[in-house]
């Protein structure tokens, strides 16, 4: 059976599974009254959280970033996992005690202000949009490759599927569907990693394979560590060794902090903490979720290394004809481009970009691709300095990994199912947050309080539809790679909600004025910096203190803290009852204690 057929089979079967679970979990007419929500094991809830959490960015893009950025990419690993811990320990249990379901609702009530609520709604919508856009790009890549269409068409297909799945299907957020999605995505991620680890190092666990020595096809141990081997290959090509960081420490620190704090403020993950009845269960679920997330996050570095090694060996200095099929498949999708700068008919890899921007293929009168003398698609981009002739989109690394490693067809197909699962679960959760924020927090609570419930429902659906379309647009014209797009979302979250939530919980003197000014300053600063450095002047030398746009959220957050603190101390203290509320939330009054006398 060919890859194409298997892909349809796997993706189709996984959809049947999700829909089947959704129907099964809804359709219980034999169940007893009042058991809803109570029967979910914390481990299952942990898996569901992990599926919500691990987006297309984690699944598709992170290993790709690691493969290309090497040590520099470790910020993503540290930031995202660290942020999760912070969310579980520092924020979620307190937010829950406030009894508010959404972040804007919390901010609005805590800061007794509709302006604060509106600012928070705007932040939520903004962050979620950015995040959803990242998911769309990821979904688009998956569909493009496996349906053999252009990546832009892939995004459109992904939009339609996500919309039906999340908005009309009524099967968003169902715990067991998410559990299934987690299982599919983790299997899809781990299986090829294990295969490659065995092939390249003889170790079953990719985590230990990363630190092991290289084993050749015949099974002889070369005695050379796999990382040394990759560093050697990169050195030959004149690229910074994999294990060396190229970023200044301050930037590493800032990016990590931005990712951590941004994560902690992500609305669709916070919600999961509210769906478990007991605080204790919520904490246990968080622990499980961390284990399930770690499973993928610890595998990613190995995947990156294996993939990078294999790509260089398969591509560098080979003629176009010699290069394996995957190169041509992804070229067909538009995510690989080769420009034979030295006209030797061989593909050379090297440092830097081969040409400016993403590949721009020459097309015939009927939009058919124009082929060069070797059969490659002709690229019209302006060549850049340097020897590198190949553009390989980082987002394809994980998806192409099984093909690059020459793994069986079913592993390739499994990959597609995993990518779709990762994108769907997160996108669905985010659309839910966006539609609730727009319809309830913004329209119902601010613009038109007389809106009927029916009107609210229509507004919610329309908001989700609009969100999908806008996200789709950014998916087609991404301002960066998936993981970087997502990193912006985190940066914006870090500079807007995170300080507002944290101060709301821990500083009872924090008032309305401080919070509003803080959020506006944090968000505006971060947004402007990102837009300026990414779109207007992309020269890294202008970066303040060498902080990249991905890390600027941290600076925005610091500004937010400072401004909010200063403003709150010179303005009126919050009302007495708010101060009491803040006090009572931090005192453990919840579970068990109330039985005392």
């Amino acid at each position: 059976m060919d890859v194409q057929f298997l892909t349809y089979l796997f993706v189709g079967a996984s959809f049947v599974l999700y829909i089947g679970i959704a129907i099964w979990s809804r359709a219980g007419s034999t169940k007893d009254f009042y058991v809803a929500g109570g029967g979910v094991h914390p481990a299952a809830n942990g898996m569901a959280t992990a599926a919500d959490w691990m987006s297309a960015a984690s699944f598709i893009s992170m290993a790709g970033l690691i493969a290309y950025l090497g040590y520099d990419a470790s910020v993503y690993l540290m930031g995202w996992t660290g942020g999760y811990v912070m969310l579980a320990m520092l924020l979620a249990p307190y937010l829950r005690k406030f009894g508010k379901f959404t972040v804007p609702d919390f901010i609005g009530d805590r800061y007794y202000s509709n302006v604060a609520r509106t600012v928070a709604v705007i932040c939520v919508i903004f962050v979620s949009f950015t995040y959803v856009a990242g998911q769309m790009r990821g979904t688009g890549i998956v569909f493009a490759r496996f349906l053999e269409v252009d990546v832009n068409i892939g995004v459109v297909i992904g939009m339609v599927i996500v919309f039906f799945y999340a908005v009309l299907g009524g099967m968003k957020g169902i715990t067991y569907t998410q559990v299934a999605q987690y299982c599919v995505l983790i299997t899809a991620f781990i299986v090829p990693a294990v295969f490659l680890s065995i092939m390249m190092t003889g170790h079953v666990l990719p985590q230990t394979g990363l630190g092991a020595t290289f084993v050749d096809a015949a099974g002889n141990d070369s005695g050379q560590y796999i990382l040394d081997r990759l560093d050697g290959l990169l050195d030959e090509l004149g690229i910074t060794p994999y294990t060396d960081g190229s970023q200044p420490m301050i930037n590493v620190f800032f990016i990590t902090a931005a990712l951590m704090c941004g994560t902690a403020g992500l609305p669709h993950v916070i919600v999961r903490f509210f769906t478990v009845p007991r605080v204790r269960d919520a904490r246990v679920s968080a622990g499980w979720a961390l284990i399930f997330i770690a499973l993928l996050y610890t595998t990613a570095p190995a995947v990156g290394v294996f993939a990078r090694t294999n790509i260089i060996e398969a591509v560098h200095n080979n003629t176009y004809e010699e290069i394996p099929g995957w190169f041509k498949s992804w070229e067909g999708v538009g995510l690989i481009g080769w420009l034979d700068k030295n006209d030797d008919g061989r593909v050379q890899m090297g440092a830097g970009d081969p040409f400016a921007g993403k590949p721009d293929y020459e097309a015939g009168p009927l939009e058919e691709p124009v082929r060069g003398e070797h059969g490659q698609r002709v690229v019209t981009n302006t060549p850049s300095e340097g020897d590198n002739e190949v553009y390989i989109d980082r987002d394809i690394i994980v998806l192409a990994n099984p093909e690059i490693g020459g793994l069986p067809a079913w592993v390739v197909a499994l990959m597609a199912a995993g990518g779709v699962a990762a994108a769907l679960s997160t996108a669905a959760g985010l659309l839910l947050v966006i539609s609730a924020a727009v319809s309830h927090d913004l329209i119902k609570k601010q613009i038109n309080p007389n809106l009927s419930e029916r009107g609210e429902l229509i507004a919610a659906r329309s908001a989700a539809a609009v969100a999908v379309v806008i996200a789709g647009y950014f998916g087609i014209n991404p301002p960066g790679f998936v993981a970087q797009v997502v990193a912006f979302a985190f940066g914006l979250a870090a500079s807007s909600f995170f300080p507002a939530i944290l101060l709301g919980i821990f500083d009872k003197r924090m008032n309305r004025e401080g919070a509003i000014v803080g959020m506006i300053v944090g968000l505006t600063f971060t947004f402007s910096y990102i837009v300026y450095t990414k779109f207007i002047n992309t020269d890294p030398s202008i970066w303040w203190f060498g902080i990249s746009p991905e890390g600027i959220g941290t600076l925005g957050m610091m500004l937010h803290f400072v401004v909010a603190f200063a403003v709150s101390r010179v303005t009126k203290a919050p009302p007495e009852e708010i101060q009491e509320l803040v006090e009572s939330v931090r005192v453990p009054r919840g579970a068990g204690v109330a039985h005392g006398h």
Binding site: R26, G37, G173, F274, S452
Partner: protein, 616 residues
């Protein structure tokens, strides 16, 4: 050769020769899709029986979205009412290609004349349809609708017949002894009008007023025979006529009594006061008995009459919600009385007895387990509390309220406490909204104070409201149970039809009751019955009037269907009593049920959005 299935009612009610007669007169007709088979205002010439296809019944005077009032499919019959009435009120249109048997109107009417069972079948269907339709249409006409379908025979009393030779004095004595105020007088030989052919010619009537006037105003001798004072102009009705026709006769002839005939025989008499007190008479008797009870034995006797009273109310077609309020009121009075009779002062008045669950909401169609709780005043000293509480639950069990299998009774210390203790309980439930705690919160939400210091109940309600106000996380968990059971509708919106029937309680009643309870919790509404809560929510602006009406109607449809299938089955928690087999319903009932379930489905969708129930 046409072949109509004669094994189902109404055709199974015909004898063999009538069936042959019918078969010979039948025709078969084909209607293309969207053909109007019978239009509104058109004379009803045929009765139609669908062989294959689907036909919709439309009320063309209604807005398009409300116009569809009936749906008929294979084996269903329509057009009979048009034949009986002369013209059709509604439009019948083929929704699919349909093949129908046509029974000429004359043939149908002749069968009705010759076959009483057959005619009765249609009369019942018309009555049922009138009842269901009018219930569906407007709340205000309810009692009228109930009245419309009651029969004379259900309201008549035994006639007191005396000979026309009886003296006035003797008659007065009889009236006093029998607590009546009118007598029928049977004319002796020679007094009967030979020229009259009306059925009442052998009888006359005399009332208290007649005799009083003749004795006092005319100075008549008490020994005078009744024949001198009795009136000859009797107004009569048939036992099978509707009660309202009797009322019309009374109004037309300006009399307060009519006699009832059946097959030419005198069977009873209907008095105006009987008609007017038709609905409340029996409940009045029972409640009087409850109020007058001086010990538990009296109370038990009164209590035992409640189910019977309820059955008779329902059998007479009284609307479910009135029957439910009646039962709730009586239960409340009985339990109040029982509390007074079995508890001693000062404790009796220093605490407040609560009825919980469906008893608290006043939404029972039959008596169920006792669910109760007790609030003690702070500082209340009650040494034998545990024994007294157990004793009281036993008293209630004797009165016909069995012990609660879930131990939600005052014999369970968990359901007894001072206000402070209750507040702690509510707090701990709110802090950890797990299944058990949510169930307890739901039960307490429906609490209704019946005996003792009722202000304690109000204060508990205050506590419930303050402890839960604005807690969105709690609301989300609380409302989640609404989605617990799937609505028995298919993907395309038609009724599911499993062999074992669909569960009305899980599919319809529970989602409405609990959904409205969740809304009441959100808005801090104090009412406990679902309909009152809906009303309060409309006033509060939380629910649109239209939605509240729809939900109330839907609840009514479910309750009535459930009562019809389950009747007074003591334990409504047994699945069987809540199940209804769709195939056994008439097409009108199926339509009502389907619409009601659509209302539930929409309601669930709105709740799901509002309370973030998408995360299941």
């Amino acid at each position: 050769m046409v072949d109509l299935d004669m094994s189902e009612p109404p055709f199974s009610l015909l004898n063999d020769s009538a069936r042959e007669h019918l078969r010979a007169g039948l025709d078969l007709a084909y209607f293309a899709r969207d053909t109007i088979i019978l239009d509104a205002g058109q004379p009803g010439e045929f009765v139609f029986v669908i062989h294959k296809g689907e036909v919709a019944e439309l009320d063309i005077n209604e807005a398009p979205e409300r116009s569809r009032i009936g749906h008929y499919t294979d084996g269903d019959l329509f057009g009979a009412i048009s034949v009986l009435n002369g013209t059709s009120r509604y439009r019948f249109i083929a929704e699919q290609e349909s093949l129908c048997y046509l029974m000429p109107g004359q043939l149908f009417l002749s069968l009705c004349d010759s076959e009483p069972a057959f005619a009765e079948y249609f009369r019942n269907r018309i009555a049922e349809k009138t009842r269901l339709m009018s219930q569906r249409r407007s709340q205000e006409d309810v009692s009228l609708a109930d009245f419309m379908v009651a029969r004379v025979s259900e309201c008549q009393r035994e006639p007191l017949v005396v000979a026309s030779t009886t003296s006035i004095g003797e008659a007065v004595r009889i009236l006093r002894d029998r607590q009546a105020d009118s007598l029928l007088v049977e004319w002796q030989e020679g007094l009967v009008e030979e020229d009259s052919s009306r059925p009442g010619k052998g009888y006359g009537m005399v009332t208290r007023t007649d005799m009083l006037e003749s004795l006092v105003l005319e100075g008549a001798d008490p020994e005078l025979a009744l024949s001198a004072v009795a009136s000859r102009d009797l107004v009569g009705v048939e036992a099978q006529q509707y009660l309202f026709e009797a009322l019309i006769e009374m109004t037309r002839h300006k009399v307060a009594r009519v006699v009832v005939w059946s097959g030419g025989q005198l069977v009873g008499i209907v008095e105006l006061t009987d008609v007017l007190s038709f609905f409340s008479s029996r409940s009045y008797v029972v409640s009087l008995q409850v109020e007058q009870a001086s010990d538990l034995d009296d109370l038990r006797a009164a209590s035992q009459r409640v189910p019977e009273m309820l059955d008779s109310l329902m059998a007479r077609g009284v609307r479910m919600r009135f029957a439910m309020s009646m039962l709730a009121a009586l239960n409340g009075r009985i339990i109040h009385k029982a509390w007074g009779l079995s508890m001693a002062e000062p404790q009796r008045s220093a605490c407040c007895l609560l009825l919980l669950g469906s008893e608290g909401r006043g939404e029972q169609v039959s008596r169920t387990d006792q669910d109760n709780a007790l609030i003690l005043a702070d500082g209340c000293d009650w040494p034998n509390l545990a024994d007294d509480a157990t004793h009281f639950t036993n008293v209630l069990a004797e009165l016909g309220y069995p012990h609660c299998s879930g131990h939600i009774m005052i014999s369970n210390p968990q359901w007894v406490g001072t206000l402070t203790q209750w507040q702690k309980r509510v707090r701990s439930w709110v802090a950890e909204p797990g299944p058990d705690n949510l169930m307890q919160l739901s039960i307490l939400m429906d609490a209704c104070s019946v005996a003792g210091d009722l202000t304690l109940g109000d204060r508990l309600r205050d506590i419930l409201i303050t402890e839960t106000r604005g807690n969105e996380v709690l609301l989300s968990h609380f409302a989640r149970a609404v989605l617990q059971f799937s609505t028995p509708l298919t993907l395309f919106g038609s009724l599911k039809r499993p062999e074992h029937g669909i569960d009305l309680k899980k599919g319809g009643i529970f989602p409405i009751v609990h959904g409205v309870r969740s809304l009441a919790l959100e808005r801090g509404i104090r009412a406990t019955s679902t309909l009152e809560r809906l009303e309060a929510l409309v006033i509060d602006g939380r629910v649109e009037r239209r939605d509240a009406d729809d939900l109330g109607e839907a609840l009514q449809v479910f309750s009535e269907l459930r009562w019809r299938t389950g009747g007074s089955v003591p334990d409504i928690n047994e699945g069987g009593a809540n199940r209804i087999v769709v195939q056994s319903l008439s097409s009108l009932e199926r339509d009502l049920l389907r619409e009601a379930l659509h209302i539930v489905r929409e309601f669930k969708g709105r709740l799901s959005h509002r309370y973030h129930l998408e995360y299941a």
